[in-house]
Subunit: 263 residues, 4 copies
């Protein structure tokens, strides 16, 4: 095992667009994509498991457990809407190599479904709270700046940003080698990882809805976020707790004389 | 080499149940499963070696060594008892990926023997000593809560527990993808890793015996634990000592001028 | 994915010589090789991607991103000049194994193009600034000392240097097993990683040009370095920032009682 | 590349015994095996390279470099002497998994040459200097204690030793699964890694010579050690220097505002 995708169903999709929102700064992407899944009643069709996630299971109030995973949902567009594949999840890779590996698995899957365009959703920490967070854009082909220039995306802020770490960035960067166009929508947020930012997620979602011609009712977002956040927070705290535990120096041996390192 | 199973014998087992008890908090699972192996006179039939264990051998008083390993035992049920596979061992993986890899190797092996149900035994650190430790349950299918609800398992405490780290959790979580039902029995214990907790192990063992219809005499447990603990403690101390040694910053070079990093 | 080479073109080259200059101390090698690519108008024909690079993309002022990579350029020699393959890049491996893996990928590629001789360019930190940095040489076959002894390379300083870390060293060491002759040209530099040293790069380039009979105008080097450095600095700072971020201890869980490590 | 063996020659050996001495505590094993190679004029026939060694090359005074490696030598026994394979080297694995992988590569090679018995040479740190270091023994089959009980090996000290870390231990532990008998000879030594201990190596060598019926003149050992030590020390210091360098926290970005982590 390193990373593997378990397919639950093989939906027939027509020229689907791909949207990703995994945990990250302010959980902006995770909240936006999770809300999208709920509002569209998108259906889960695949799960990604990985030994690059933390080696634990999450315990639900029902006493049942599940292993950390990323989940693929599909949505069949109504009327002029496009078909979609949405990726959300509990976690991103905990080591550098895992990011590459997982992103490649995702790219192979969505390429197989005929995806040609991707929108990755993320947060951009600016260190202070703002009333109306801007949505900053990054692309994996400069021609896309023109294409999406009138969608309320700030394409001038690229200079302020050095890098996009993790899946939202690598999907664009590696996706180029798969012939996929990609836009990363970065909602401005304070930037403390544990504080979720529904306001920023709302702005990201508005931009995405406009581009995709979706009618998403964002009025319930804050309420839903509270529920969703319960769970996301639990995962993150558990992760932090487990990492802290794993990083603790080993206990001192009781009887040092009996224990010796021999090379 | 990453992880590999060495099979010593291919026992014929009929619908065996799987029980796991590896080192962990309070060594509750390890003690309970180890005692079970002794009392049932279960027979070893396979060993699991892994490069995710510490790279050392343990030296016995007899001057002979053995490499760290996990061991599979089988027991042929008498009368109404069921056949069993029991997993105990010296160590769990020392890195995150290893947990996934080892658990998958275990799942493949037991699936091959027709296992459909698993009981993983572990401790749950509560930070204080209690006279009669409760046994908390977690399942990998919520229907199992009903099935085992009358076995003296506390299925209400799930909310207090965020995660189950390591093999006891992952066997359940990943086992679901192998079609295996799994119950984790977590004995309450103080929670300091090095202090073994035979009392907690006893409670876990009582619950397990009741479910499986085994007649296990727990009167010798505390005595046996003392013997067993000698060995387990030695392993853990050695592991802690070796890890500490490995984590020591490298010695300062004597003549700094001759040694330069060149990129 | 671990490391892979994407070939954009298959140039026909005649007995090409290989030159490597990746980021390192004082960026001496990176600056020298980068300038060489510009001055020769060498053409890119392959890219190397690796999960041993940092898992992020770099964001350009144009708002477009690219994944970290190493790039292969070729140059068809004019007159008596030799054909060349030049390797430059954003990054070296961030873990020990990656260095070996990437270097082997490079060796396989250049061996396939008939390379028999390599020049790897690097810096050697001496802890103080010097007016005219010397170029120190290391070889992977002692016969090469004689061959290049009159090219202005200091082959007496080997004793002051303990090791050559990373691609510049491993290309020589592992290249021996591929039957390739290799010379490492180490320009003396102060040694603080983030301060680029065009003067040292210039000296390295002069030696290389003399050996290869290239007429490289080094007068523009300092100016070009300023431009190039903007970008290299951005990558390095981003890398440092991301590493620092990744190394931060996890946030303390808000409600410690609900989060417990269970082995 | 992970670990690979480069065979330079395929010697025909008759029932050879295997001796290992790699760097470790007091370099006892490395010194003893290295001296053995010199005294027997054993011939190198294979090299082991590994991406689990440090990613650098060592620079010799001649300005030539070599990549870190382990080296296999063979010796054709004269008269009643047995054929031998001797393993020495610059380094052991720098990560836990590497130890397992390298040891398995070694075991496969020597098994292929018909080896049935191994002697691994190492140091045992006791924290104080002693006039006449004892040679402590560990075996991978308790029957071997009887076989070698009269060879001046202390088989009573096993209790004082918890573990044997690295190749000397794992060769015994994993070698058991290859059907190989193994004895580890541990020379008592102070235990500071960087201080080589020729006296301890001498005692180990005496015991080994007696068992194998070799006539090794140990009078030159201390002198030879001085020469050998120059080199071993250089490797270790370089390794320590490089590790220290690699462990340094990344430089602070100059302009923090431009660099932000985005998940």
């Amino acid at each position: 095992m390193t990373s593997k995708i378990v397919e639950l169903e093989k939906p027939k999709l027509k020229n689907p667009v791909f949207v990703e929102g995994l945990p990250g700064i302010g959980n902006v992407g995770r909240i936006a994509a999770g809300y999208l899944v709920e509002q569209l009643k998108a259906k889960k069709f695949a799960e990604l498991l990985s030994s690059h996630f933390m080696p634990f299971v999450l315990l639900h109030p029902s006493s049942s457990v599940h292993v950390l995973k990323n989940e693929f949902f599909y949505y069949k567009g109504k009327g002029k809407e496009r078909d979609m594949i949405i990726l959300i999840g509990d976690s991103q890779s905990i080591d550098p190599e895992g990011h590459y590996e997982i992103v490649e698995e995702v790219l192979k899957l969505i390429k197989g479904y005929g995806v040609k365009e991707m929108f990755t959703l993320a947060g951009f920490g600016i260190g202070e709270e703002v009333k109306k967070p801007k949505v900053i854009g990054a692309v994996n082909d400069s021609a896309l700046v023109k294409k999406y220039g009138k969608s309320g995306i700030d394409f001038e802020a690229g200079n302020r940003i050095g890098t996009i770490v993790g899946a939202s960035g690598l999907l664009l960067g590696l996706g180029r080698y798969y012939g996929l166009d990609g836009v990363c929508l970065l909602g401005e947020t304070v930037g403390f990882p544990i504080i979720p930012d529904p306001k920023s997620a709302e702005e990201v979602l508005k931009v995405l809805s406009k581009i995709l011609g979706l009618k998403i009712d964002v009025s319930e977002l804050e309420k839903k976020v509270k529920e969703m956040q319960e769970f996301i927070k639990k995962v993150q705290e558990a992760q932090a707790g487990a990492i802290a535990q794993m990083m603790k120096p080993p206990e001192k041996p009781a009887d040092k004389d009996k224990l010796t390192y021999i090379g």
